[in-house]
Amino acid sequence: MGKLSLRFQWNNFMKYRFLLKEIVRKNVRLQYRESVLGMVWTLLQPLLFTLVLSFVFSILFNRSDVGGVPFLLYLMCGRLLFSFFTDSTKRAMRSVRQNAGIIKKVYVPRYIYPMGNVLSTFVTFLLSLIVLVGFIIYYDVCKGFTFGLHLRVLYAIVPIVILFVFSMGVGLLLASISVFFKDTDFIYDVLCNLLFYLSPIIYSPDDVMKGRASADLLLKILRLNPLYGIIQMFRNVVFYSPGLMETVKENGKNVLSEVAVMPFFYSERQLLYTAGLAVVVMALGAFVFYKQQDKFILHL
């Protein structure tokens, strides 16, 4: 059963793809089953969370917009992507241990469980994007935008796909580590918290850079976080309007200038870095998981 051949792996996957579907179906259905509002929570939860953050920042910190984009919307974009990442990776991390009962009794390709959990979170994430679309229409952000909406949607898919691949890789990696060390759960919780503040969700990178001597270095460090690029890319697609500004280096100085990446919405460097890293992390996750999976049963 441990044959390396791709053909065997593919046939095996095809046999168990039904299980993958059932797991996605189950997770999506069960998530809100015992609540009165049911699936409405898929929309309501991100909305309420965003409202809380938005309340904190617009009322307590007096923030109304980021470069012309209503702060509520700005927040929502980042938060939706970020919570997809943390939810899916956390679920994937726990999935192998949660399904220990089956894994110890019946042969199933183990990766089905982390994969199924990332996929089901992805489904709820896609559903929750409806809220975002609603707000975009409400605030009429697309005003003055010359591209057709369909093209924008097309461009928005790219960061989402990158995020999906990245989350899958991190999920597989965490799942294989956490079987051996339960500490992973706690450490990862803390790391996610840190990551939240390292990603431009509640702030705009421009705020942080403003009037800072070492802004260059800081920006470089922040950009190492792939979520930074992914969120920025996604937001640029959603909000790009001729007035949107970004910090750009010009003659050794940081100056605000119009985003000059049209018609690509995101810079090639950002795209290549995040996509490349996602692929590398995915390959690493798959490799580690594949190498370790036969030992799982001894630790479950």
């Binding site: 441990g2 039904f18 299980l19 579907k21 059932e22 259905r29 110890k104 009794k105 019946v106 001894l298």
Partner: protein, 249 residues
């Protein structure tokens, strides 16, 4: 019918038994630095070879710790042997700890699809036999109730019904022939006999010689992870008795 359903060739399984359990990074790191990560080697199976033809029913006997459960896990594909080659032809359904694959918050009816998929069957395939499974389990009135509200007997009945109704090629039995109350027990025995008649391959693990003699036509005897006797049930049982006598002396 001369095609092997299961073929094991010199299958060995080694465990590294930690003297102490190390399951957090700090401990692991400290022990690693102090070179204290010692393991005791333990061979649960040593060079186990046998072939089960399609339609044969193999009884696996042996005392506690002889390696029966490990062997089952290897055959089920759950554990990968340290050495050796294993070939399996067909779909395996384990009748071990029935209901292990259920999601407690999911209703009984939905769990049929989930468990079916765990055994490698598509939703379409399960749909065709869904009603049969429900009827067999006798849980028609509870089928929309979450499994967490089932009694353990109800869970076992549903698990049994699914594992039998999907008509696997290879059935793994681990002394679980006593599921549910007397009427259900009778029904389940009849179902297993029906599967036998259809030529399902069976691996049956038991301490009990009577059960093995009743159900199986072939048997192997394990001792300390090695096959010490194999062949027709009666001769292996003879050997088992002889060895037990010897031990008593």
């Amino acid at each position: 019918m001369n095609e092997p359903a299961i073929r094991l060739d010199k299958v060995s399984m080694r465990f590294n038994l930690n003297r102490e359990r190390v399951d957090n990074i700090k401990e692991y790191f400290i022990k690693f630095m102090r070179h204290q990560l010692h393991y005791n080697e333990f061979w649960a199976l040593r060079d186990v070879s046998f072939t089960v033809q399609k339609g044969e029913r193999l009884g696996v006997m042996g005392l506690n710790g002889a390696g029966k459960s490990t062997l089952l896990k290897v055959i089920a594909g759950v554990m990968k042997p340290t050495h050796g080659i294993m070939e399996i032809n067909g779909n395996i359904a384990p009748l071990i700890e029935l209901g292990a694959g259920f999601d407690m918050n999911y209703s009984g009816g939905e769990n049929i699809y989930l468990y079916g998929a765990t055994l490698g069957f598509s939703r379409k395939q399960i749909k065709e036999i869904w009603k049969e499974i429900v009827d067999f389990s006798g849980l028609k009135d509870f089928i929309d109730v979450p499994v967490k509200n089932y009694s353990s007997g109800m869970r076992a009945r549903l698990g049994f019904a699914i594992a039998c109704m999907v008509e696997p090629d290879i059935l793994i039995l681990d002394e679980v022939l006593s599921v549910g109350d007397a009427p259900f027990k009778k029904k389940s025995e009849a179902k297993i006999m029906e599967l036998f008649d259809r030529g399902v391959t069976v691996i049956f693990v038991s301490h009990s010689m009577e059960q093995v003699e009743k159900l199986c036509n072939k048997a192997i005897l394990l001792e300390k992870g090695q096959v010490v006797a194999s062949g027709y049930t009666d001769s292996v049982c003879e050997e088992y008795k002889r060895r037990m006598q010897e031990q008593k002396k």
